[in-house]
């Protein structure tokens, strides 16, 4: 062995064989790409410059199958006995080739208080990308419209469950979406020969090419929503929030299930603003600022706060709208 070779071999033990690491790149090199390398060597032979090229070493990028699944809303409030309650998921093809994914639902999950019942058609695409389950969304039918996703592409789907009538307030029920690559899944490194894009091999990546992710239903006897919005009117006919401008606040309360007993809305007047006297309205009817027999007042015992008593609210009461105005100091 020449000194050159010995030195090379020994140094190589230390430098060339290192632990394999697998950094994640946002965009993987597309499956089927051929990467070629040709070395060039130049030298002088007896004073004559010469350049030679080596053979070309080539390596083919094969398909790595990976998938990631996330929940848009980890928990959904529901009432006992309700039907077709949706959980929204996003599925992302994190591999480097085009892949078909198969979907299924499992609601017999341990670790919860009750088992939801998958609806007769339990998976829909969020076809209109609204984030809400509605009439325009297309049902998923296994084997006929399995989502086909290009590398880095995503699709949003709902899973639907019915909530048993026997479930009680505060109970939790879990339901899982299972997403599996159609080419195959298994331990990372599992090879599906010739089944990648363009006939290259497909190799299972770190995600095992299948993901199971549970969402949660929480039973609540009362479902109440509250939303606040604002509109600014400046003294010059525009909508700039300048000193002297008026802000009209609108608070909308709605009960969609159960009875919200003794509902009271409290809203503090914002700092650097002054309440406009006698501007308090409930469902467009005026309420006096004084503490008296009507449903609302301006409570000045501490920081000025709007108080409106809505009483016992049910879905039959419909939307309750509270309005008041402030002026920017």
């Amino acid at each position: 062995m020449t000194g050159w070779k010995r030195q090379a071999a020994l140094a190589c033990v230390a430098t060339c064989v290192m632990a394999l690491s697998a950094p994640v790149f946002a965009d993987g090199t597309p499956a089927g790409t051929v990467i070629e390398n040709t070395a060039t060597i130049s030298f002088d032979l007896g004073g004559t410059p010469t350049t030679l090229t080596s053979n070309t070493a080539s390596v083919t990028v094969v398909e790595r199958i990976d998938v990631s699944v996330s929940l848009q809303t980890a928990q959904r409030l529901v009432t006992a006995g309700s039907s077709d309650q949706p959980l929204l998921y996003t599925i992302v093809n994190t591999g480097n080739g085009t892949e078909t994914f198969q979907l299924s639902v499992n609601s017999a999950v341990g670790g919860d208080d009750f088992d939801p019942t998958p609806s007769a058609t339990s998976i829909y695409f969020d076809t209109d990308a609204s984030g809400d389950f509605n009439a325009g969304d297309v049902a998923y039918s296994p084997g006929s419209n399995d989502p086909v996703l290009a590398a880095d592409a995503s699709v949003a789907v709902f899973i639907l469950n019915d909530i048993p009538g026997s479930a009680t307030n505060g109970q939790r029920g879990l339901s899982e979406l299972i997403v599996t690559a159609a080419t195959g899944s298994g331990a990372p490194g599992t090879v599906f020969a010739g089944q990648g894009d363009g006939g290259v091999d497909a190799v299972v990546g770190a995600t095992t090419a299948t993901v199971t992710l549970a969402g949660e239903y929480l039973v609540s006897d009362v479902l109440l929503t509250i939303n606040k919005s604002q509109q600014v009117t400046d003294p010059f006919g525009g909508s700039e929030p300048v000193p002297g401008a008026t802000i009209t606040y609108s608070i909308v309360v709605e009960v969609t299930a159960g009875t919200a007993t003794g509902s009271i809305v409290r809203d503090a007047i914002p700092a650097f603003t002054t309440y406009v006297s006698n501007s308090l309205l409930l469902n467009t009817g005026a309420l006096s600022d004084a503490v008296d027999a009507d449903e609302g007042e301006l409570d000045t015992s501490g920081a000025p706060t709007i108080v409106v008593r809505l009483g016992d609210l049910t879905s039959t009461d419909g939307v309750q709208t509270i309005e008041f105005q402030v002026v920017i100091d």
């Binding site: 430098t15 064989v17 394999l20 950094p23 130049s42 030298f43 053979n55």
Partner: protein, 161 residues
């Protein structure tokens, strides 16, 4: 012992393949691409070896080796070996191997070369230090001469983006 096994494998790697690029009175130069394969043998021991890389997946590391030998009858002077680094590959910092050779990189498609620490790139209006992601070529220069029958190897690792 793992290190002994590794040494044997690497010695095997150092043996040259067919001399199809050999030219009379010149140099023989060969390039291979390999990857590290870890497996378990019949005795349940972990075996690390370099195997030819025919395929690769994003995130995987490949090792390029260029071997050269003076097959002529005269010594060669000013020997310079240049390898491209594909845009799909990320050079692994510190992986370049070439004992006794001067190491330089290019960030402009092989037009100019400099030591890694003195390379810069223009990004927008600002100049910044080059990172491995900027490298387009790697180059080794041999001081002195390569005698008749003498040989050497250079090597670097890269990760598929």
């Amino acid at each position: 012992m793992k290190s002994e096994k590794t040494l044997w494998i690497l010695l095997a790697v150092l043996t040259f393949g067919s001399a199809n690029a050999q030219q009379e009175g010149t140099l023989d130069v060969q390039t291979t691409v390999e990857k590290v394969q870890v497996s378990t043998n019949a005795a349940g021991e972990e075996v690390t070896e370099l195997v030819p890389a025919e395929t690769v997946v994003p995130g995987e590391r490949v090792i390029y080796t260029t071997s050269f030998r003076n097959t002529g009858s005269d010594p060669a002077d000013n020997v310079v070996i240049t390898n491209p680094i594909s845009e799909n590959l990320l050079y692994v910092e510190g992986s370049a191997f070439g004992p006794g050779l001067e190491l330089e990189f290019s960030v402009d498609g092989g037009q100019t070369f400099a030591a890694a620490e003195s390379l810069t790139v223009i990004e927008g209006d600002a100049e910044r230090s080059a990172t491995p992601d900027d490298y387009t070529h790697i180059r080794w220069s041999m001081p002195g001469s390569l005698d008749t029958g003498a040989q050497g190897i250079v090597r670097f690792s890269a990760i598929l983006k």
